[in-house]
Assembly symmetry: C2
């Protein structure tokens, strides 16, 4: 979408699928989300429409389709039998809502996807005026801050996740963290299923884990980042934050869809920690091409609210997201949100899900940077030469990718990478 | 779903669509959302699985389908060519997460809908253990409290909405409220697009509106409820709450999907007001039959968090939701969430969207109670005899419905109803 921010309007681009003429369909969207109602009422003057109405900025027609993607849509009385698709861009004057993320949501999403005129409607992208960055803090650490906190430069942070997701007590968790940290990972996260269950309470678990990491730091100088899952009610999240800070923690993980934007904003205001945004639940809004919201649009909201990292899935992942979609999200995380002189809000994309050495070259080729977290579970613990070799195989794979060498060639002189390719595929 | 709550497990029922054998597909869901990972790791012992694993409680096969509802799904190597559908119920031990709504979401929804084994997966219902009601406050007012605050008994609250949605300044808004309140409505709400925009700031708007309502109360004794849209950041919502309380307000409207569960829980803890839950944005999660979450499941989360009213759309609405789905949601709002002796958390469903006198009999027939808010916009302001007649026509329609009389028959002696039927259809 256009990167030239207007100072007083917000823009949203949609995919639509409709049996109605495209101009009429787009006008319906604009009316529903600004001055309109289903019956013209006395107060809706032309002057009011001029000042407050949403505007249809463009309509780019795509290929027509036959079957409606979603149920419940209508057809016009004189339907020509064609079900059209298009990308429609609407804009609103910022003064309708002011720079408020919760109210932005009601405006650019709200009731739109329930409108009977549409058999498909998905928010694809947003362009927001810079006023949002005076109201919201944005990421506190982002790419540069994460590197500074961890001391990892010139390559991706190699990350991993504590598994099994649930079931281990705090001491077992800390022992697994010791193995992973000794193996050389830069970043370890809780599973999103594990926050403060009674068998593995947050305070006991994170105290045990952070004691292990402190001991490793004292001995080696390596600052392994542990993203402790603080997800919960807001008062719980804040007190967990303080516990982490007082025990030397550097990162809090939050399931973004479990907490919502205002809780994230409130947490950011209080936070001294890197905020690791986990997007579990994303599939509910993102998987259908005809409904919901793209992550390219959604991630902008979370960056403004203050996350420093966001999950984007990974190439050839175990889920159903396409590589194209993964890369589009990752690129977006690394792209400044506003034109200079405003800060860019760049954050670290987190690649995960079935990742091993083999995805490094494709990932690097697609995004052209090592400013990312590359997380592997089985790709580390399942390495035939052990976890430390698993970590080294990932570092080697990224070294090869950044140097423009084929993995197979680089593996000839790097046995850990060679073993990874033999185990996980080339 | 079964209403017999287990004390130590939580249950979730799903629609699934898959090319894999149903037992295998259900086991994949259970594994992903509890102890599993894509590679068996050393810590995943049988004892751990026994204590913490999700359990497949039942699989009820439905009719097969041909085309995958969603992209990105896989097929087994030896696929028999049949794409099956089923309703699958899973259960989890409560001790995996404790009674935490944000962590519940990651468990029952989370990554499930992104799993490659499924070309469709939707959460249909939840049954939660009563521990959730010791942790969460639930609705403070619900049905009985809303009647007490408004003084309306024995019939639905007749509600309406301020239109046009955006564009009016505070004094214009207050004047419209005066017309509507004088006309006899019981309930008036802000539009979800209007919260605290710079042209219609919250404090000025609500001060003006509440002054009008106070004057009407002093004169007539009628306590018209005004649901002021407090949606915003949490600190803003709390300060707007306090402003409403100090100006005699009785109700706060919150766009639930704009704020998320933890902000709602925090607001409820602070609140002295009836909480009117607006579900704009619901279509993104609810419209697809193959993805997201039903409102029957979702409304339980919001009731626990503390809403007193929830929008359910209306019969023959202007959106694309079916009457069957509308009624299922409304019934659920009125159904106790837990077995005695725990309070039931019943709340008022809000019917809206293209509603007029004609939908009263069908609505009453379907839910058998007048414990609801029946909101009309054009159905009141568009009545040919004026707004007061519009309100009376709605009251008459509900009197007829409750008395079991046909609208046409009742209209013979009630001219406002007769005019409404002539204008809006019978």
């Amino acid at each position: 979408m256009s990167t030239s921010n207007s100072n007083d309007r917000l823009f949203a681009r949609y995919f639509i699928e409709t049996a109605f003429p495209l101009e009429q369909a787009a006008a319906t969207m604009a009316g529903e989300q600004s001055t309109g109602t289903f019956l013209r009422v006395p107060g809706e003057t032309e002057e009011l429409r001029e000042k407050f109405a949403a505007r249809v900025e463009s309509i780019v027609e795509g290929l027509p389709t036959v079957e409606p993607s979603l149920p419940g849509s209508g057809t016009p009385a004189n339907w020509d039998g064609v079900r059209r698709t298009a990308q429609v861009t609407l804009s609103w004057p910022l003064h309708n809502i002011g720079p408020s993320l919760p109210n932005l949501l009601a405006t650019v999403a709200g009731n739109l996807s329930e409108l009977r005129a549409f058999s498909g409607l998905k928010l694809l992208d947003l362009t927001l005026p810079p006023a949002f960055l005076t109201r919201y803090q944005g990421p506190q650490f982002g790419v540069a801050g994460t590197r500074e906190v961890t001391g990892v430069y010139g390559r991706p942070l190699i990350g991993t996740i504590i598994k099994p997701s649930v079931g281990m007590v705090p001491t077992q968790t800390a022992e697994q963290v010791r193995v992973l940290a000794e193996a050389g990972v830069d970043f370890i996260k809780d599973d999103e299923l594990q926050s403060d269950g009674p068998r593995c309470p947050f305070v006991e678990r994170t105290s045990a884990v952070l004691a292990v990491l402190r001991e490793i730091f004292d001995r080696t100088g390596r600052k392994v980042m542990y993203a402790a899952n603080v997800t919960g009610e807001l008062d719980e999240m804040l007190s967990r934050h303080d516990h982490l800070v007082s025990h030397g923690g550097t990162c809090a993980m939050i399931s973004i869809h479990s907490v919502g934007l205002p809780a994230m904003t409130a947490f950011r205001k209080h936070s001294q920690l890197v905020i690791h945004g986990h997007r579990n639940g994303w599939g509910m809004m993102g998987r259908s091409p005809a409904l919901g919201m793209s992550f390219v649009a959604a991630q902008k909201l979370w960056r403004l609210a203050g996350v420093d990292h966001l999950h984007v899935n990974g190439l050839q992942n175990k889920f159903c997201e396409s590589d194209e979609s993964v890369i589009a999200s990752a690129r977006e995380c690394l792209t400044p949100m506003f034109a200079p002189p405003n800060p860019g809000c760049e954050i670290m994309p987190v690649f995960s899900s079935g990742q091993s050495a083999r995805q490094a070259p494709g990932t690097y080729a697609a995004i052209g940077t090592t400013d990312l977290i590359f997380a592997a579970g089985g790709g580390i613990l399942g390495h035939p030469m052990g976890a430390a070799a698993g970590v080294r195989s990932l570092q080697q794979a990224w070294d090869a990718a950044a140097a423009g060498m084929a993995l197979g060639e680089y593996a000839a002189s790097h046995p850990e990478l060679a073993a990874a390719l033999a185990t996980f595929g080339a």
